[in-house]
Each structure stands twice: as structure tokens, then as C-alpha cells.
């Protein structure tokens, strides 16, 4: 397992804590990378209950984020943030590996 840091911002940690407070069975946020979207890859966010053997677990202020080993190769060095503005409130990923991104940042390429 690599040790490349994934940073979870304070706002993201707070939001994860709020979300799982309502759903204690699925108390971890899994972030994964899969093919799709206009730029080639997409981020996927799921609430899950199990840690898989190859997962990297990032904890901040009680909030737990899981990244599988394959997604980790794409997400190394990324910052997971939660952005609440007028138009929308959602998790956003700042990924230093991404060379292009879709308008909303959900899809990106390397």
C-alpha cells in the first residue's frame, strides 16, 4: 500500500459526520475512480459499511473515507472538499493528477 496522502478538509469531514449520523449502518464514504463522463474518468461517492482488504482508510475528526488501491493510484495527493455554494452543495476533489476536467469536476482525464 502506498502512503501518498489524500487530504480530507475540515468541511468535508464535518459533512461526512453529519451524513453518517443519519445513517449509522453505512458510516464510511468510499471514493472511487471509474471510466465514464466527458473527460474519460469519473469520481464516484458511496456510503458503505465495510472496509475491503486493499482499502486505504483516511480518518479526520471521526469521519472515515475509503479509497481502494486502484483508485488510489489516480487519487494520490488529492484533496477531498465539500463545497456549499448557491448553485449546489457537494463533495469536490482537487486532484493534482488530473489534466483536464469537466465543468462540474465530476469527470476528468489524466
Amino acid at each position: 500500500m502506498t502512503t501518498a496522502a489524500i487530504i480530507v478538509t475540515e468541511r468535508a469531514a464535518e459533512r461526512i459526520a453529519q451524513i453518517v449520523a443519519n445513517d449509522p449502518d453505512n458510516n464510511m464514504l468510499r471514493i472511487s475512480v471509474e471510466g465514464g463522463g466527458c473527460s474519460g474518468f469519473e469520481y464516484r461517492f458511496d456510503l458503505v459499511s465495510n472496509v475491503e482488504p486493499e482499502d486505504m482508510l483516511i480518518e479526520r475528526a471521526g469521519a472515515k473515507v475509503l479509497v481502494d488501491s486502484l483508485s488510489l493510484t489516480y487519487l494520490a495527493g488529492s484533496e477531498i472538499d465539500y463545497v456549499d455554494d448557491l448553485m449546489s452543495a457537494s463533495f469536490k476533489i482537487k486532484n493534482p493528477n488530473a489534466t483536464a476536467a469537466c465543468g462540474c469536476g465530476t469527470s476528468f482525464s489524466f
Binding site: 473527460s39 448553485m87 463533495f91 465530476t106
Partner: protein, 130 residues
């Protein structure tokens, strides 16, 4: 000032959108008169919807009022937004305004970038006389 004539609604607001606009208006630091809605070029499908806090009315803004909340539609966006319902969707991980726009012909994966065919002028005249 003369009485403004009654005009067709360029946009409608869902119950959820009204609630959300009421909420953001109440939370705004500066006093605002409503939310300004527009379109701009951008994203993979060609255009993006924009939303901003409006501190005053523009001279040509189209104002839509619903249950006490106001949206101001930029004059250049009217043809693109005619007939659109503004909704606010909340799921576990995300909350966002959604434009249900009959003029929209395609959209990006996340729906933030769209291709819009502007409404023909006849449609507006029909709407006005309806």
C-alpha cells in the same frame, strides 16, 4: 408609474426550489432582492446555467415571483430558459438546483453543462397572448 401588464412566466419554481431560495436569501450576508439566473458559454456541452445573489433589479430583468421569493432572469437568457422549471434536488451526498428545461437538447454527464436551442420568437408571442 403605469401598471405593469401581466406577462407570461418565463420560468416556474418547484416547491423545493422556493424553499431553498427562501433559505439562501435569509442566510445571505448582504441584503438581496432575489436570485439572478442566467446562462453562459462553458462546459463540455456548450452552455452552463448561472445563479447569483441579486442586490438590485436590472432594468431588463424578467422577474418571476413565487410564494414570496423572486428570481431575476437576465434578458439574454430569456429565450434559453422559456418554459423551464427550476427544481432543487437533495440526495444523501449532494444538493443542487436543477433546471428542467424543454429547450435543452443535450447535457454533460453531471448536467451542469448543456446544449440549449433558444425558443422561437413565435413561442413567446403565443405564450404572451395565452
Amino acid at each position: 408609474m403605469s401598471q405593469p401588464r401581466s406577462r407570461p412566466r418565463v420560468m416556474t419554481l418547484s416547491e423545493a426550489a422556493v424553499d431553498r431560495i427562501r433559505q439562501v436569501t435569509a442566510n445571505s450576508q448582504a441584503p438581496i432582492v432575489g436570485i439572478r439566473v442566467g446562462v453562459k458559454k462553458g462546459g463540455c456541452a456548450g452552455m452552463e446555467y448561472t445563479m447569483q445573489y441579486a442586490e438590485s433589479f436590472g432594468p431588463h430583468d424578467e422577474v418571476v415571483e413565487e410564494k414570496g421569493v423572486k428570481i431575476l432572469i437576465e434578458p439574454t437568457a430569456i429565450l434559453f430558459l422559456l418554459g423551464t422549471e427550476l427544481d432543487f434536488k437533495v440526495d444523501k451526498l449532494k444538493a443542487a438546483f436543477v433546471f428542467n428545461n424543454p429547450n435543452q437538447s443535450s447535457a454533460c454527464g453531471c448536467g451542469e453543462s448543456v446544449a440549449i436551442t433558444p425558443a422561437a420568437h413565435e413561442q413567446i408571442e403565443t405564450a404572451k397572448t395565452a
